[in-house]
């Protein structure tokens, strides 16, 4: 079964993939720095009317919850907000774009958050992405 990206179902499948990732549990075990939002920029041509994304409640290498947010809900309660166009997130989920390298190239933007902390947890970030690649995904065309 494939999950449409973005959707609530995809977000839940992603959370399960994160919690099944032993490498993430290890690399993220010291993470106590708050929730992380992964936000897709609005794209009218893809039917994404407003910024959409998910809020990951991660702590000590575990994803305790995920909240899918569309349109009117903002991500101000996230400690870290990473925002990018749909095409970039697709590259990340397909494992073609390293998230940290993407930030250095300006393909993904850390809109909010403490950059040194992000760099400290670079391996955990990569494991989050690695978990995303495990989710059977149906992309918008």
């Amino acid at each position: 079964m494939q999950y449409a990206f973005p959707s609530r179902e995809w977000a839940v499948a992603f959370m399960a993939a994160v919690n099944n990732n032993a490498a993430y549990r290890q690399s993220g075990k010291d993470w106590t720095f708050g929730k992380v939002a992964m936000v897709i920029e609005a794209a009218a041509d893809l039917g994404i009317a407003e910024d959409t994304g998910m809020l990951l409640d991660v702590l000590h290498g575990e994803c305790r919850g995920v909240e899918y947010r569309e349109g009117e809900k903002r991500f101000g309660d996230a400690e870290f907000i990473i925002i990018a166009p749909y095409s970039r997130w697709r590259e990340v989920i397909e494992g073609q774009l390293d998230p940290i390298k993407g930030m250095m190239e300006g393909k993904l933007k850390l809109e909010k958050g403490h950059l040194p902390t992000m760099i400290r947890f670079v391996h955990a970030s990569r494991e989050l992405v690695s978990s995303a690649t495990q989710v059977p995904t149906q992309f918008l065309s």
Binding site: I100, K101, M104, E105, G106, L115, P116, I119, R120, V122
Partner: protein, 194 residues
């Protein structure tokens, strides 16, 4: 208190006075010892809050707005806002440092002068120190763990070992580190996120 710090920091000067008979004083060794004293002093001052330096200004050069430039500026600002001892290191650096990420075809120059840092897109001027390699290794440099008291890179950490290996294999190249050893050590401390 400041006399104590001066005596720690002036260790290298004292050693210079003790070695007049040497025809060519081992400058690299002396500067390393001086830097070791400075690291200890800066650690002490950070802990005691003796040097409540305001965060140095970090500015983007006019016309500079590349992604890597913005990332480096943000990393410096966040680190300087967090730690007093990093402010002291920043204030002590003079000169230009070029960082070249070959895989993403990006480079930045950090120009340190009088406690102020200007971050430029590309290589601007003649750098005193340059770091060239893939972006992931450049980022890895800022993950070098520092020893808790001397604040020098821990050579036995996994990150240090992987960086030494990258330098040995030529994937990561650092030019000017020996001739500008204090700058290299201060920069390592300044960019470190450990």
């Amino acid at each position: 208190m400041s006399r104590r710090f001066n005596s720690v920091g002036g260790f290298a000067d004292g050693l210079r006075q003790l070695l007049p008979s040497l025809r060519r004083p081992p400058r690299v060794l002396l500067s390393a010892l001086g830097e070791l004293g400075a690291g200890l002093r800066s650690k002490l001052s950070g802990r005691l809050g003796a040097d409540a330096l305001p965060p140095p200004q970090v500015e983007l050069a006019p016309g500079s707005g590349g992604a890597m430039t913005a990332i480096m500026a943000q990393l410096l600002r966040d680190n300087l806002a967090d730690r007093v001892e990093k402010r002291r290191d920043c204030a002590a650096i003079r000169g230009r440092v070029a960082i070249i990420a070959e895989d993403i075809d990006s480079s930045v120059t950090l120009h340190f002068e009088a406690g102020r840092v200007t971050v430029h897109d590309g290589i601007v001027g003649i750098p005193d120190l340059s770091v060239r390699g893939p972006s992931d290794l450049i980022l890895e440099l800022s993950r070098l763990q520092l020893q808790s008291y001397l604040r020098l890179p821990d050579p036995f950490s996994a990150t240090a070992k992987s960086l030494f290996e990258a330098m040995r294999s030529g994937r990561l190249k650092v030019h000017g580190a020996w001739s500008h050893l204090p700058t290299a050590l201060r920069l390592t401390r300044l960019l470190s996120v450990s």
